[in-house]
């Protein structure tokens, strides 16, 4: 019967009180509304956080909590890297890489900075290039290393160095004997011109057995040193053509099997030969005899 008694004579009156009505209207004013529903809560939140953080203990606690949480996440076995596999590197380089990389396994995936590691590895002298990748399932850090291939051996004041074809330093060696197959170059700045030296050697293939090495003179031109201390002085410009010319001369006239110490082609227009001291006397005598005959 409640629905029926809810007629005009009913004592129940759903009217709001005057003050609740005023409160509602006040709360409907835009400024107050924004203040109450956004301004005050935001301020209270900011103030609460500020008060909490003003205590050193709380800050430490938070920091600790953060690091613990981080540890929990980063030390999860699924994201751990347990070992490093290096491919394409000789034992020495392998050891070097293991030494220089600043990682202690097992290490978390999140602590590994692959680009930086790659830079370190490539920074090693014998390493030409390196590809690093993480295989997350197995937890392995794979490093594929391309080593530099020594192309020449460079003798200088400090000792013997192996250089690759670009002239980059590979490593220092104690003795030439271990690297008989590599051509020898010498002279200050020879390492910067390895490519040219190698080209010269290719051009000098017919003399291959006799060539002892190349000397870079005055940081501008090459000398080819042959076995019995014969020296072919090549010009600054077009040394390869000049060498080919000398070889042609040798093949035609047996130039290099004569008593000559130096074939001087530094000025291409005015080639000069230097004879052995004894041979010079012989030459004079012969010339004199010829003149005498006349």
């Amino acid at each position: 019967m409640s629905a029926m008694s809810d007629y005009r004579e009913s004592r129940h009156d759903p009217a709001p009180s005057r003050w609740s009505y005023r409160l509602l209207r006040m709360m409907l004013t835009p400024f107050l509304r924004r203040l109450v529903f956004f301004g005050i809560p935001a301020f209270a939140l900011a103030a609460g956080i500020g008060v909490y953080l003003s205590e050193q203990d709380n800050r430490d606690k938070l920091r600790m909590l953060y690091s613990e949480a981080r540890l929990l996440l980063t030390q999860h076995p699924e994201v751990m890297v347990n070992l490093m596999a290096i491919e394409g590197a000789s034992d020495m380089v392998d050891q070097d890489i293991r030494e220089v990389l600043p990682v202690d396994f097992p290490i978390s995936y999140f602590d590994i900075d692959l680009p930086q590691m790659r830079e370190i590895i490539v920074g090693l002298d014998p390493v030409k290039d390196a590809v690093l990748q993480l295989s997350m399932g197995a937890g392995i850090l794979q490093i594929e290393v391309t080593e530099r291939v020594p192309a020449a051996i460079w003798r200088h004041r400090g000792g013997l160095e192996l250089l690759d074809e670009t002239g980059a330093y590979v490593r220092t060696v104690a003795s030439r004997q271990d690297h008989q197959d590599l051509p020898l170059i010498a002279g200050i700045g020879a390492d910067t011109r390895v490519k040219e030296a190698l080209a010269l050697l290719v051009a000098g293939q017919p003399l291959a057995k006799r060539i002892r090495g190349l000397v870079y003179v005055g940081a501008r031109r090459w000398d080819v040193v042959l076995d019995n201390n014969q020296r072919l002085m090549l010009p600054e410009q077009g040394p390869i053509e000049t060498l080919e010319r000398i070889i042609a001369l040798d093949q035609a006239e047996d130039l290099l099997s004569r008593d000559i110490t130096v074939v001087d082609f530094r000025l291409v227009d005015r080639p000069t030969l230097r004879l052995v001291g004894r041979a010079m006397e012989d030459f004079r005598n012969i010339t004199f005899l010829k003149l005498g005959d006349q």
Binding site: Y7, A15, R25, L28
Partner: protein, 444 residues
């Protein structure tokens, strides 16, 4: 005369500020329910005008953002009889509407049906000096109207110029710019008891709101329940509410007569309560669930439980047939309609070109009312529902909310009233500077 319209002018100014702010509330203070709509004016439908749509009879340009109705307390015959109760009821409606709209409203336009409205036809005539009719001349002719003696303690609710006549041409709606010698006007003036307005204004003020307009609910129902051609050709709108039945007659889109019969649905309920010896609540329930006006043989067999709670079982478990109920309801409805008929006869409704009668209001939902009304009022009777307005809730779109919807339309597009026209120079208060400005305006 200027002090007579001072409050109306301030209300117009308030309405203007409310429209600028974009939010206004309309409040219908009825005998059974108090309804409140909150309207937002944002001109959303402006673009739709043009393509043959028209101004949509003033429904465009606003939408309802909050609505509430509450059971009315302290109101009888459409008048406030108990200020605290009425204030609480109004506050309930306003609060729930504002809560729903989520907007704070400061201005309200209200309507009520009580206060024994009386219509007066007022005419004025003036000889025009400088031939072309301007607003100044219109103001003069309005000022020339002789105010009838409507008695002590009454106030003008509406004063709408419904017709202008220039020389021998009558029926002009806007004579401005035309040339003539004699300008005449007819004004329809509606007065109500001052106390009714004052009480309403006081209740609204107690709710911290400003009254931005007052209308007669008969007028409001008329503009919402009549369609455009009915407004134009002449029609009467009978708004049968809870405590009173409003009668308004429209012609050429102007209200030309309004009156109230101080009887309504509540009297029917009271008759049932007395006739069947049941409480008012039960009587109301019986009326709305099984009420009717045309008895058939079937109704003798249809039994209605007439329960009451006196504690006497024999008395509380009675049943009555529906014919008995109809026998109680019908005389009262006939009485209401005959009273309406009398008012229409007095007003000269017979002389209108069209005699369409539209029944609306909560009590117009009694089954069979249209048949009964056509016997008493004439053949052209239809049941009217209010126009649709944008976002009006379904619950408030029935005929019982015709006044509320009409008030929304009134808020959006009020008719020009006397106080909307400028005062003639001669009657201007002695503010010399303003007079000088006006003099310059008129002469250059």
């Amino acid at each position: 005369m200027s002090e007579l319209y001072e409050s109306q002018r301030t209300m117009r100014a308030m309405r203007k500020t409310a429209l600028q702010r974009g939010v206004i509330a309309v409040l219908d203070v009825g005998t059974t329910k108090i309804g409140c709509l909150i309207l937002r004016f944002d001109g959303i439908d402006r673009g739709e005008e043009g393509e043959g749509v028209g101004a949509l009879a003033g429904q465009s340009g606003f939408r309802v953002i909050g609505s509430a109705t509450t059971r009315s307390r302290g109101v009888e015959f459409g008048e406030i009889v108990s200020m605290p109760q009425a204030e609480r009821a109004i506050r309930t409606a306003l609060q729930s509407a504002q809560k729903l709209a989520n907007v704070r409203v400061d201005h309200v336009i209200a309507c009520f049906s009580g206060g024994t409205p009386r219509s007066y036809g007022v005419t004025g005539q003036v000889t025009v000096e400088n031939q072309i009719i301007s607003e100044q001349e219109i103001a003069q002719v309005m000022a020339d109207c002789d105010i009838p003696d409507f008695g002590e303690g009454r106030e003008v609710l509406h004063a709408q110029p419904v017709n202008f006549a220039l020389d021998h041409r009558s029926g002009l709606s806007d004579p401005r710019g035309q040339i003539g010698q004699k300008l005449g006007t007819d004004i329809h003036m509606l007065t109500v008891e001052e106390k009714a307005i004052r009480d309403l204004a006081y209740c609204v003020k107690r709710c911290d709101l400003e009254l931005a307009g007052v209308a007669s609910s008969a007028y409001a129902s008329g503009i919402s329940a009549l369609v455009e051609d009915e407004l134009e050709l002449g029609a009467a709108c009978i708004d049968i509410g809870g405590g009173s039945a409003g009668v308004s007659i429209f012609l050429k889109k102007h209200m030309i007569y309004a009156d109230t019969v101080r009887m309504g649905g509540e009297h029917i309920t009271r008759d049932i309560s007395m006739g069947l010896q049941v409480p008012m609540a039960v009587a109301e329930r019986i009326k709305t669930r099984s009420g009717g006006l045309i008895a058939t043989g079937m109704d003798d067999r249809e039994m209605i439980e007439a329960r009451s709670d006196t504690g006497d079982w024999e008395r509380d478990r009675r049943v009555v047939s529906r014919s008995e109920l109809i026998g109680i309801m019908r005389p009262r409805v006939e009485e209401i309609l005959e009273d309406v008929r009398a008012r229409l006869d007095v007003s000269g409704f017979d002389h209108l070109p069209s005699q369409q009668i539209v029944l609306t209001g909560g009590s117009s939902q009694i089954p069979g009312l249209d048949v009964l009304a056509s016997r008493i009022l004439g053949q052209q009777v239809r049941l009217g529902r209010p126009l649709r307005i944008h976002r009006l809730p379904q619950a408030n779109s029935g005929p019982s909310c015709a006044g509320l919807v009409g008030l929304s339309l009134f808020a959006a597009h009020p008719q020009d009233e006397w106080w909307d026209f400028e005062m003639p120079t001669q009657r201007y208060p002695t503010r010399t500077l303003k007079r000088a400005v006006r003099w310059f305006k008129e002469n250059w």
